[in-house]
């Protein structure tokens, strides 16, 4: 979901701390609590210095993983850090069906295969939801009783196409599973049930079932050749049970036969077997450990499934030919074949459109979120699936100022989504078209930071004077240091601004302002109760199509390489990288001229540092800081992060 211009992304600092080390986290937390600037010679502070020296490059491949839209970020009050989806853990609060919005209890989720057990199905052809409709309606009959079908409102597929009708409009899933079981599973599901019984041991099955099985096979094979005696799920269960028994039988350490696959076949068991090879070669006879106990019935090596009750399926000798003949026949054709996308959700035997079954809707989850490092809950939604409320919701927007970027234009479109503005704008000269910024032409932008905290914040913005990358645009923040008021009572602003609310609003959106106001260096453009607007001056650079300088190409290559981004030995790695690119592409001359994807997007990295005095919370760590500045029971806090402002796309031709 890429955003229309202009946008603002915030970089989560977690990308710079590759390994979540709790000890390190704690240390960094301590330093963030320290208030005195004299403390900067702490060990961790040096790390921070190192980070500060680097300029965030929005085009570096790593930034893809750290840049988030502000509303996706959370904030941990204990770590005092921004938390992105990568630095949280999730816990499922409830499962619900996205179609009927009913909750599925967690005990039922697994047995129902993570799918809705009611009437919710997706179309096997196009994945749109299916509706239960009565056939009587179609014919116009009066009675509501009658056969029911599932029909797709998108592609007009119905279950009639695969010859399925339902007697009741409720519990469609059980009806459907009965139909498919009875048509494919036959009476084999009974033997499958026996097989699943925990009391059944390997030998007993082997002894009991082969006679039954052979009968079943004979009766089945002539009738339906395409599908085996068991339906795929039952066959999977049979195979799983069979191999579980096999493992239990052949492994040297006799484990609980009821244990899951992993227990019997886990590496310690296998390791034991291997180790026993070396330690006691004399005990070679004991290698297949259980063999001593039941030497007659148990084969020494693990065997494969032999009969259908164990999950074996022998296709009829001409099954493949029959399939091919059916594909080639006129009534099948290309349209009769199921596509790969359709087959991925169906049983592996489904080859034709007629084999596709309606898919019960996959469940979705509501999840609560925790901080990965300190385990505090950051987001806890209400339990009910339909509710949109949260019990706990610590979003970053309540702590960091919300950035909004607008072009400084003398017209009325500033707040509209740019998609609706852009087409109309091209004609007007006064309005910069953000999708085609003309190079070397100064654009003024308004950056508004809105504070959602109840404390006033002092903000320092910093940006490289030239954006990193091959397209070098010049950026100037006219007022890099300013204050934002506290998010106090809303009525304050209303009462203050009641004299001239129109003016205030107009100047905020830059409508009236541009006729009167001129952006001045060192001065805030506009200010409100809890927001401040400053002006950014941007001179978009020229695209590399015109000027190709060697060092720019070098920079580009450097950026493409993942590894050489962060280390400092640029010269060394550059040579290698250049050689590499020359080798593969063979069109390097064109390459330097060509634009990389999205290279013409003008993105400005801005470093935001905010300071504020917050009320001291009773906290173990802060008691130390409290002793140092116990004057007003406030603690000086700071938070710093990189943010990326997406201004627009630079057009290739230079226009005046």
């Amino acid at each position: 979901m890429s955003r229309p211009f202009p946008y603002a992304y915030i970089s989560c600092p977690c990308a710079d701390t590759p390994v979540p080390d709790p000890a390190r986290k704690r240390r960094s937390r301590e330093t963030s609590h320290k208030t005195n600037p004299e403390d900067s010679n702490l060990p961790v502070a040096q790390d921070y210095d190192f980070e500060d020296e680097r300029t965030f490059d929005p085009r570096s491949p790593r930034s893809n993983f750290s840049l988030y839209p502000p509303e996706q970020l959370l904030y941990c009050e204990d770590c005092h850090q921004i938390k992105c989806p990568r630095c949280i853990t999730e816990e499922i609060v409830c499962w619900y069906c996205p179609n009927c919005l009913f909750e599925t209890p967690s005990s039922m989720v697994r047995s129902e295969g993570n799918r809705c057990a009611r009437n919710c199905f997706n179309c096997p052809i196009c994945t749109a939801p299916l509706a239960v409709t009565t056939l009587e309606n179609v014919t116009g009959g009066g009675s509501q009783q009658g056969p029911w079908v599932l029909s797709c409102g998108y592609c007009m597929w119905t279950t009639l196409d695969i010859g399925i009708k339902f007697e009741k409009p409720t519990n469609i899933r059980t009806q459907l599973s009965k139909m498919t079981d009875s048509s494919r599973g036959r009476q084999m599901s009974k033997t499958f049930g026996d097989l699943k019984s925990p009391l059944s041991t390997y030998s007993s099955i082997d002894d009991q079932f082969p006679p039954n099985e052979n009968k079943g096979d004979e009766s089945n094979l002539p009738t339906d050749q395409s599908s085996g005696p068991l339906n795929p799920e039952a066959r999977f269960q049979a195979l799983k049970g069979f191999y579980k028994n096999q493992i239990a039988a052949t492994s040297s350490s006799p484990t609980d036969p009821l244990a899951d696959f992993g227990a019997g076949f886990s590496s310690p068991g296998a390791l034991n077997r291997i180790m026993s090879l070396y330690t006691s070669s004399s005990r070679l006879g004991n290698l297949y450990g259980g063999a001593n106990k039941k030497p007659k019935s148990r084969p020494p090596v693990m065997r494969e499934a032999l009969v259908a009750s164990e999950g074996l399926r022998v296709p009829a000798p001409d099954a493949e030919n029959a399939l091919i003949r059916r594909m080639a026949s006129d009534d099948c054709g290309w349209d009769g074949m199921a596509s790969i996308e359709q087959r991925t959700f169906q049983s592996p035997d489904a080859r034709f459109v007629e084999d596709l079954l309606p898919l019960p809707v996959l469940l979705r989850t509501k999840r609560s979120k925790r901080c990965k490092s300190c385990k505090h809950i950051l987001v806890k939604p209400e339990f009910k699936p339909q509710s949109t409320r949260f019990r706990i919701r610590l979003i970053a927007l309540s702590y960091i100022p919300l950035p909004t970027l607008k072009p400084l234009i003398p017209s009325s479109f500033a707040g509209l989504p740019p998609s609706s503005v852009a087409p109309a704008v091209t004609g007007a000269a006064a309005v910069p078209n953000l999708d085609a910024l003309s190079p070397l032409k100064t654009v003024q932008l308004l950056l508004t930071l809105k504070n959602h905290m109840f404390d006033a914040v002092r903000v320092t913005l910093a940006t490289p004077s030239v954006t990193p990358g091959r397209v070098a645009s010049k950026v100037t923040i006219l007022c890099p240091q300013f204050d934002i008021g506290a998010n106090s009572d809303v009525w304050d602003e209303a009462l203050q601004g009641s004299t001239a609310p129109g003016d205030q609003r107009a100047s905020r959106s830059g409508t009236l302002g541009s006729t009167e106001k001129v952006a001045e260096a060192g001065k805030v453009w506009d200010k409100g109760r809890n927001w401040t607007t400053v002006v950014l001056e941007v001179v978009p650079g020229t695209l590399p199509g015109g000027a190709t300088k060697r060092h720019r190409v070098k920079q580009q290559d450097n950026r493409d390489d993942d590894d050489s981004d962060d280390d400092d030995e640029d010269e060394d790695s550059n040579a290698d990288v250049n050689a590499n690119t020359l080798d593969w592409s063979g069109q390097t001359k064109d390459h330097s001229q060509q634009l990389q994807p999205d290279e013409d997007v003008l993105e400005i990295p801005v470093f935001v540092r905010m300071e504020w005095d917050s009320e001291n919370q009773i906290d173990q760590e802060q008691s130390v800081g409290k002793g140092q500045n116990s004057e007003q029971n406030t603690v000086k806090r700071e938070l710093a992060y990189w943010m990326v402002l997406g201004v627009g796309r630079i057009s290739p031709e230079v226009s005046l």
Partner: protein
């Protein structure tokens, strides 16, 4: 909308609705606007498709947002701070029930954005819903609060989009979720007041 807006492009009603003179609104007495709603030029709102067996075309001129209590059938309800972009089409959903084709009311919540050229036939659209450009919402679909329909998506008839879910494609599928901060005033999903304020200036 050209940048130089002609004087009086919008009719502003008592409750603050801003309705473009160039929008096409049919059956106004069957439409309820909650106030501070914006209807852009060339948007089509079919209030004349209300629930009766005979779809009459009574085009009596009334106030734009007058909720006539004498006629109980309401075709379209739109909440506060909702925004209907240019050339969007709002049609009440319809269904063949017991052999009779009948219309059902279309309810749109607060802070809803309907993109350009979108066609909405949903049964209900919750609060803070975003419908992208050129999207099609099929008949009797339900968009819950904070649903997000991507540009060009085709939401199949009868589909339910749960809260916080992002849907896209044709037919639309759930492709993701919006962040927890979605819908916060001023952030993504919370721009409705700002949008309203800037219309007609």
């Amino acid at each position: 909308m050209p940048p130089k807006v002609a004087k009086g492009e919008y009719i502003e009603t008592d409750t603050g609705n801003k309705i473009s003179r160039r929008s096409q609104i049919h059956g106004t007495q069957h439409i309820i606007l909650g106030g501070k709603t914006v209807i852009q030029a060339e948007a089509v709102i079919r209030g004349d498709l209300y629930r009766t067996s005979t779809s009459s075309t009574s085009a009596s001129s009334g106030d734009q947002q007058q909720s006539v209590s004498s006629t109980p059938s309401v075709a379209i309800t739109i909440g506060r701070y909702s925004y209907i972009s240019k050339q969007a089409v709002l049609r009440p959903p319809s269904r063949l029930h017991r052999g009779v084709h009948s219309f059902y009311p279309l309810k749109i919540g607060d802070h809803v954005f309907i993109g350009e050229r979108a066609v909405v036939e949903a049964a209900s659209v919750g609060n803070h819903v975003h419908v992208g450009r050129d999207a099609v919402i099929g008949s009797m679909a339900i968009l819950k609060d904070f649903a997000y329909v991507l540009d060009g998506a085709v939401v199949a008839p009868g589909m339910v989009v749960p809260s916080w879910c992002v849907v896209g494609g044709a037919p639309a599928r759930i492709v993701g979720e919006v962040g927890e901060g979605y819908g916060v005033e001023g952030a993504e999903g919370g721009m409705a007041r700002e949008r309203y304020r800037l219309v007609g200036r």
